[in-house]
Point group: C3
Chain length 199, copies 3
């Protein structure tokens, strides 16, 4: 019945939600800065910015991450116990993949999609290869790009001509969302309760 | 004495052979598409194609993978029990490395070979760091490039001038075969019998 | 009380020190060859060379690696038992990251630093995510680039104009040193005593 302390102290729902939201916010700002700096994506002139992103972008991603993490918690994900260190590594892996996609302008789609598919599957297989996490990853791989296709359609953002082969967005975008959706699905419980304390 | 079902059902020899062949076929088609699309390799005009590959390429690779997997089974590889999920991750890792090599045109050989050597060793060390798997990986790293040197010599395929420093083939080619040979050596048993059912 | 043999034989202090020094020497020569071949770094004309490096470079790095490994041994690192195979994989990971940085000329700093930070953290989290290894990684991430800034300032080496945004050295340099410092901290004990024999 010992209560954990410091880095191993369990988090209540409000603190966990704030932590998940903050991670989504920070990762999206950093990753999107990679995309904007490399010219992979751009926002219309005049839109208010946070770092290199349109102001609404990190809020939208953070809310989506929070939603995926909340849904994952209800599905008792991750099915494989994951610690806070695992969570940090999962975030690092998604961030590295995010930055890697900033190198893919002008790359033939079969090359970029094969590379990102393989890496995204490795992230999923390492983090939590469960049916629930797979469902979350697949949902993210469909809904994320669909949302961005809508964003591009209304002119709120655009992908470079050499990185827009999937209805205006990048062909590797589903892979990035797949990896992010897999990790996000288990983020709440990995942060809220250290692995040893899973019920 | 329970018989597994669905994804965990053991496979008989014929089914396992078909599964290994199919994986070799699919991975070689996808990976080779990366090489052809990036201009790393090309086939003579007029040769019949499957996707972007000469028709004979996926058959040759699939047979080689089947041979390596069959030999590995006889050596009781993988020495470290591996599940079907591990097999999928191993295939994903080889595929990601395959796609990565499509980015290496014009790269100084020391850079491309150092990068691919490090990554190929990580695949081996993770998958099955046993003497048997090492032998399979080394055999593939020698025989695979030798076969491709022969293919190039008879004019059935060619590497781009900036990716052909090893007797007409790419200098990083042994690294790619090393990783593929390591994973292939344990593929049969990983697919045929889920890890928990190894004799 | 069995004494190990061959690959599992414990090493005495002198043999372990020689092994650590040799690894530092070899990795720095190979990695630096990537940097010189890609034009990322260059040495003044006329300086004596070992392969592509100025003669003093591998000695300096090998001594630094030896120092980090010796300090790590005194801190009883790695905190997570690591085998000689793990050590080989750790060296392969650092080498792959070293080679990867040779591709980053002209890349916007936010992209290269995000990519290398994520990968370096993954190396640390896998190798030995302990406070001691973190301290070693952070010390390396600060002291290594500082030393190189000094080397550049006295004209003994230089980074390409498109890879010198951090006081004359590359902005991703701290990430590379972070990963190297993490692995180096546990290298002595991982090599000297196979994991099963930790006291």
């Amino acid at each position: 019945v010992a209560r954990g302390r410091g880095l191993t102290r369990p988090l209540g729902p409000a603190a966990a939600a704030v932590a998940v939201f903050a991670i989504g916010f920070a990762v999206s700002l950093l990753g999107d800065a990679c995309h904007v700096a490399s010219g992979t994506t751009r926002y219309p002139d005049g839109v208010a910015r946070i770092l290199l992103s349109a102001w609404w972008f990190p809020f939208a991603v953070a809310l989506a991450v929070l939603g995926a993490a909340w849904a994952g918690r209800r599905m008792a994900l991750p099915a494989r116990p994951r610690t806070r260190l695992d969570a940090a590594a999962g975030v690092a892996a998604v961030l590295a993949l995010y930055a890697l996609t900033a190198f893919l302008r002008g790359t033939p789609p079969v090359v970029s999609v094969t590379l990102c598919s393989g890496l995204a599957f490795l992230v999923f297989a390492w983090w939590d290869p469960s049916p629930g996490a797979l469902a979350s990853a697949l949902a993210a791989a469909v809904l994320g790009p669909l949302a961005e296709i809508g964003v591009v359609a209304i002119g709120a953002a655009s992908y470079a001509p050499d990185a827009s082969g999937l209805l205006g967005v990048a062909p590797w975008l589903p892979c990035l969302y797949f990896a992010a959706g897999a990790v996000a699905s288990g983020l709440w419980r990995a942060l809220a309760a250290p692995a040893a304390q899973y019920p």
